[in-house]
């Protein structure tokens, strides 16, 4: 997966925020709030070469079972894909 929009991730007062910058401000000039785990996923998704690797990274970082992590991450990534925040970096393997 790769990020397709220009956002800067900031953590302020226990809130995780995506702040649009550059061309992204043309489409959206507000801010997006994320949970701590969602912020972790957004920040690290380009480091993972597959969905399974991403789940491994999440379970190493947080005390969460792989099944729940996969379910939550799947929902989040789908939402981000649907809203154009991220895109497939390798369509052959659907990642």
């Amino acid at each position: 997966m790769k990020k397709t929009k220009e956002f800067i991730l900031r953590q302020i007062a226990d809130e995780y925020l995506l702040i649009p910058t550059g061309q992204t401000c043309e489409e959206f000039n507000g801010m997006i709030t994320l949970s701590e785990t969602a912020a972790y996923i957004y920040e690290h998704l380009e480091e993972a070469e597959s969905f399974e690797k991403l789940i491994e990274m999440i379970t190493q970082e947080y005390e969460i079972d792989p099944k729940t992590a996969a379910s939550d991450a799947y929902e989040l990534l789908n939402g981000m894909l649907k809203n154009g925040l991220i895109g497939l970096s390798d369509p052959k393997v659907n990642w």
Binding site: A13, E15, E26, M31
Partner: protein, 361 residues
């Protein structure tokens, strides 16, 4: 005038959390005292010669270094103002540098110096909003009030250039003797451009570092200011909202409010840095103040927090109209020079508002 107004829901939550946790969420950079206009009531503007006698402008890199420190402390919203900020050398470099840090930027300007190039540069990486001060609805008023004969036409041109780039604009202004006859026309202009307009009728009698004192005749009398305020409310409110406002003002709680602490975000989650680098809790208060370029941001913010919390507004403690009066620490400071006296102008203004609303019933 601050970087946090018209907050959205997420922003409201952030502001509330930051205020409780004393995080410096919003700050203003008053970049320079220079302005191409010269308004009667301005308390910031200096000529180039006056400015040179007092100091010199801080560089883009100096401001960015403070901004990096602000980011570490949690600042998200930055308001860029002046003087006229588009006269600041390197304005766009500073703007772009702040954007790269993840700051949400608002710009206060008179709008007259916005060129197609500036508008295009802002359009490529948009600010949250540009606040344009509208001083009147005609070139004649700009000449009388701002000593800038074609100011109205130039401001309209600036608005149009920003709208072409789809940049959010808010119109701001203050009603003074020179433009009080144009209230209806000001709202017509806002309607023409499809913009929100906020007009104030209370003017803080500040002179700050300008050489001359505040001239009382540069603002409306309390009676005139109240009349203008109600006229503006009729423009802004539906009949239902106006009736609710009238009922609120006429049926306010009569018990005095014993809370004497500062009620706004100043020095709790908001701060102001003037072109010297003096960091204060708001634009009007000189004290508590500390030079941020000499002391660094974190130390300066701690100083401001500690010393702003000591301010007690005791001048209005026994007043039964506190709940309907817009008195604040800055108002007391500017009107009385202290926090333990009643600001007479504001008392008269509030009394007039209530009286005129009663007369309308």
């Amino acid at each position: 005038m601050d970087a946090l107004d018209s907050a959205l829901k997420i922003e409201e939550r952030l502001v509330m959390k930051a205020t409780l946790a004393h995080i410096p969420l919003g700050g203003t950079f008053e970049l320079l005292p220079l302005c191409n206009m010269n308004c009667h009531m301005c308390f910031i503007r200096l000529s180039r010669e006056e400015m040179d006698l007092r100091g010199s402008l801080r560089s883009v890199e100096e401001w960015l270094e403070i901004a990096r420190q602000m980011k570490e402390s949690g600042t998200l919203f930055v308001l860029l103002t002046g003087g006229e900020p588009f006269l600041y050398p390197g304005f766009l470099d500073l703007y772009q540098g702040l954007k790269k840090l993840g700051m949400i930027i608002t710009i206060n300007t008179n709008g007259t110096l916005i060129t197609p190039q500036i508008a295009a540069a802002l359009g490529k990486d948009k600010p949250r909003r540009v606040n344009i001060t509208l001083y009147g609805a005609s070139n004649q008023t700009y000449e009388r009030l701002c000593h800038y004969p074609n100011g109205f036409d130039q401001t309209c041109k600036g608005i149009e250039l920003l709208l072409e780039q789809k940049i959010d604009i808010k119109l701001n202004g203050t009603i003074v003797p020179e433009n009080v006859h144009e209230i209806d026309a000001l709202f017509e202009i806002a309607k023409h451009y499809g913009l929100y307009i906020k007009m104030d009728t209370y003017m803080y009698p500040s002179s700050r570092e300008r050489l001359h004192p505040f001239h009382p005749e540069s603002r409306l009398s309390p009676k005139e200011a109240a009349q203008a305020a109600l006229k503006i409310k009729k423009h802004q409110m539906s009949q239902e909202e106006y009736t609710a406002y009238q009922n609120h003002m006429l049926n306010h709680p009569s018990l005095p409010n014993q809370d004497s602490s500062i009620q706004c975000r100043a020095g709790k989650s908001a701060f102001w840095i003037n072109w010297y680098g003096d960091m204060t809790s708001c634009i009007f208060m000189k004290k508590p103040g500390i030079n941020v370029f000499e002391n660094g941001f974190e130390k300066s913010w701690k100083y401001l927090l500690e010393n702003t919390s000591k301010i007690q507004l005791t001048g209005c403690l026994s007043c039964t109209k506190k709940s309907v009066c817009q008195v604040c620490a800055a108002c007391m400071y500017c009107e009385c020079g202290c926090f333990d006296q009643k600001p007479d102008y504001m008392c008269q203004y509030t009394d007039e508002l209530i009286k005129q609303l009663e007369d309308m019933k």
